[in-house]
Assembly symmetry: C2
Homo-oligomer: 261 residues x 2
């Protein structure tokens, strides 16, 4: 299964916010055997979002969108996804009732804020989703996410994304696994073997240089049987060593390096 991600938000493009949502989704999807084909970050611009969602939903098995689901004027993702799919936005009555209840609970919890500020929540707008979409409702988010065709829309706030994604996680799966080995050989001494293993087996191969005595990492991804064969072949043709101390740690390559098998 091939999935493309669209992460929406001016704050991402300004470098205000690290795009941890993208990395988190990439990891979760990869763990499930899915291949993430693209991650695109774009501004809160209805036409740009619609164009990206249209392209990716047609080109890949699913398109996952995060961000811009709130109720302020810079939140245009719902309208944009509806545009992309040539659908209208419609109000789901049960979703709306839930949002009204959340607003009442907020006013109970913060009576001073509710008194001081005129909460002009447009409940219809908050409860709208594209026609025939499946709303995704959690306690953590005020408004819904949704699934419309093969487009999945989630909030941009990480804690809200994490909870909502669990509602649909079983809908993402695939057969791609990966495995790595480490070698003391410098990357520059591996070219022939790296080319060979790509040609012999139905796998993709990445190599990630260490520095000096930090070993080189070779990562192989593909169908399980092909990965097994490729790893066996590599084990016979490349000197193998232990992973660097700390397991995943290339000092200059931040981030965890979980294996998906």
């Amino acid at each position: 299964m091939d999935v493309a991600l669209v992460t929406v938000g001016d704050e991402l493009l300004a470098g205000d916010t690290e795009n941890t949502n993208a990395t988190w989704l990439c990891r979760r999807l990869t763990e499930r055997g899915v291949t993430v084909t693209r991650v695109l970050t774009i501004p809160d611009d209805r036409d740009v979002i619609a164009s990206a969602v249209r392209e990716f939903s047609q080109a890949f098995d699913a398109c996952v969108v995060t961000g811009g689901l709130g109720g302020t004027p810079d939140d245009v993702t719902k309208a944009a996804v509806a545009d992309a799919l040539d659908r209208d936005l419609v109000v789901a009555d049960d979703v709306k009732a839930g949002i009204v209840a959340k607003a009442e609970a907020y006013a109970d919890q913060y009576p001073d804020l509710a008194d001081a500020y005129d909460l002009d929540v447009d409940f219809d707008a908050q409860a709208a989703v594209p026609e025939d979409a499946r709303p995704l409702v959690t306690d953590e988010s005020f408004g819904p996410g949704f699934v419309a065709g093969n487009v999945y829309a989630f909030p941009g706030i990480p804690d809200e994304l994490y909870v909502m994604f669990e509602l649909v996680v079983d809908e993402f799966d695939g057969e791609v696994v990966s495995d790595s080995l480490y070698t003391p050989a410098p990357e520059g001494a591996l070219n022939d073997r790296l080319s060979d293993v790509r040609e012999r087996f139905d796998v993709s191969v990445g190599s990630y240089p260490g520095k000096g005595r930090i070993p080189t990492r070779i990562k192989v991804s593909g169908p399980p049987a092909a990965v097994d064969e490729a790893m066996t072949w590599l084990g016979e043709h490349v000197d193998v060593t232990e992973p660097p101390e700390g397991g995943s740690g290339y000092a200059d390559r931040p981030g965890a390096e979980p294996e998906s098998r």
Copy 2:
């Protein structure tokens, strides 16, 4: 100046590596008044890279590419950028001489590794850049980055990127600034003011919800005079409060929040 970023690497799409390069470049460019229009992450696939670079270099003032500049078979960015620009790859003799010297220095520093492994470095391939490109050479990187037309190609290893970017940083500039204010008003009570400020002034406006008593952030970006006018107007029409403690800290929105003025 509008700039799009292309970050190349299967390890990013697998969620192995947080895309800190993208965030760092977004921040550096935004600080200089540039608008970052897109960040696209794609696999180490020559045709996909060529297509993205072609599209972005035509649509925007510059296209910045990171990753895939090494010498192993999964490093195809140089060839892809050459494809995108309809140029050949050519060897710059002075660049090649520098790479040969680096390989000799490596062998001196790690004689056991150099003896044990056959370093079949293809110096011509390592020294190649697209025809008429300006090579970017630093001590930190083995091979060069380059500028070809309005396409800037940098290594994917962060420490190497940071140093190389400094060689060309002055070529990126623009007139966009931004400023923020914080308000105790819930986001849902601000819709009319947020719409008003967008319509009255030549600015883009983002609002980022706090939770409960964590204040809402309103961020305004655009030409300096317009941002000044919009901030003055907002100060007269919105209750203003101090930033949350810790300055930038929305617990659920990771990352620093530097202002670009």
